[in-house]
């Protein structure tokens, strides 16, 4: 066991980890931040996406010790300071971008990473960016619509609601 320290959602945290402890296990098991989900554990589904130093990564495919000293952001850190939903979260609610919600934390984190890189993506760019985020419920249309709406674009003409 070694001690690892990092900043998670603006708070300094530390804990004991093994070499093989995955970042997602440290977040969920060590810090009880269970908003980050494990859908596949095989690097395919994106339910576990978090930001490490502002970059979207699959937290099931990175060791906790590799995030030593990093700024980590999870779905628990996405709401506004007063607890109200952020623009992206509110757009998912408004446009029915989730059904069971299992993929949603990863979808929101990927969406936030996309909009930081590309504030006004086209529908094609949104779909391409979500390549690694799998949803078994929605059929994606409303997720794409929510992200387009969160980017401030008119979504009346996009996909069915």
């Amino acid at each position: 066991m070694t001690q690892v320290s990092m900043t998670v959602n603006g708070k300094a945290v530390s804990g004991d980890v093994e070499g093989r402890t995955l970042l997602v296990d440290f977040l969920r098991g060590g810090l009880h931040l269970t908003g980050t989900h494990v859908g596949c554990d095989t690097s395919q589904c994106g339910a576990c996406v978090v930001h490490v130093n502002g970059i979207a990564v699959k937290s099931c495919t990175m060791f906790a010790s590799e995030a030593a000293g990093a700024e980590v952001r999870t779905i628990e850190g996405m709401a506004n300071k007063d607890g109200s939903l952020s623009v992206i979260q509110a757009a998912f609610q408004e446009h029915h971008g989730l059904q069971c919600g299992f993929c949603t934390p990863g979808m929101v984190m990927s969406a936030a990473a996309l909009l930081k890189e590309n504030p006004k993506p086209t529908e094609h760019e949104v779909r391409a960016y979500l390549e690694g985020n799998i949803c078994r419920c929605t059929g994606y249309h409303n997720i794409v619509k929510a992200i387009m709406a969160a980017s401030g674009q008119d979504v009346a003409a996009i996909a069915a609601e």
Binding site: T61, A113, Y129, N133
Partner: protein, 263 residues
């Protein structure tokens, strides 16, 4: 996963000495190795992370105009930083896997792994790149030695990859949507002294050069120049996603598309 320790050295020298010990293995972005460890297909005692070594990061232009990429540079960084200097390479990097994979996976890890369906081996062989390690320089033509097999010695580290920049080039990837790897991928590059065509995803022997197409395209760089050729189906991969004959067909179609996109 079996238990192991992780070290994060900050110089190539420290990483090389750590990798000199039995049971030590390099860790790049972990996008291949971590899934492998989870399946208990590897049991290292110690992982030596190469991602905290500044000398192995980033893209620069070498003295002979070649694009030099640090061995631990992520696919996302390559995609961004070679967009002007080598657009075909940038395009290839920007279509590997998905954004989160590209944010962690590294060029050195991809070339060391030499997955028969990976994209970078096609770029390295198709560009006649040089694989630079902590001990020597290896020409791409000598580096790839079959599926998951390379010229690397145990503990040897890919520190840099140097790509001579072609006059024209393009990579065509026929995506296998479940894995996001190439079902077949073809990299075509036209240099002053001839054309190189490298094929990934198709052969039981890993990435290879399609000699007949190279000869034809070196004479006439047009899709029509290879119209009369047939890629051989001998020794091509047969799996649930495609027969050898189907892959052979794709090789020609993708080569033509790559030539048209490059021209």
């Amino acid at each position: 996963m079996y238990a192991f320790e992780i070290e994060r050295p900050s110089t190539i020298g420290d990483a090389a000495s750590a990798l000199g010990h039995d049971g030590a293995q390099a860790l790049g972005g972990g996008q291949t190795l971590i899934p492998t460890l989870k399946q208990r297909l590897a049991a290292p005692e110690k992982l030596i992370s190469l991602t905290a070594i500044p000398e192995m990061q980033g893209v620069c232009i070498g003295d002979a105009g070649e694009v030099c990429i640090g061995g631990a540079t992520t696919h996302a960084t390559v995609a961004r930083e070679t967009a002007k200097s080598y657009p075909a390479l940038s395009g290839l990097a920007s279509h590997i896997g998905d954004p989160a994979v590209r944010n962690r996976g590294t060029i050195g890890g991809s070339l060391a792994n030499n997955d028969p369906s990976a994209c970078y081996p096609a770029a390295a062989l198709g560009s006649g790149a040089t694989i630079v390690t902590n001990t020597r320089k290896i020409a791409a033509d000598d580096y790839f030695q079959g599926m998951f097999t390379t010229a690397l010695e145990p503990g040897e580290i890919i520190t840099e990859v140097r790509f001579p920049v072609p006059q024209k080039a393009n990579y065509q990837k026929f995506v296998q949507p479940a894995s996001r790897f190439a079902l077949v991928g073809v990299f075509v590059a036209k240099y002053a002294d001839g054309v190189r065509v490298a094929v990934t995803g198709a052969s039981e022997d890993g990435v290879f050069r399609w000699d007949a197409a190279e000869a034809a395209l070196s004479r006439d760089f047009s899709a029509a120049a290879i119209e009369g050729l047939t890629a051989s189906a001998t020794n091509l991969i047969s799996d649930l996603h495609g027969t050898p004959a189907y892959r052979a067909h794709l090789i020609k179609v993708l080569t033509k598309r790559a030539v048209m996109a490059a021209a």
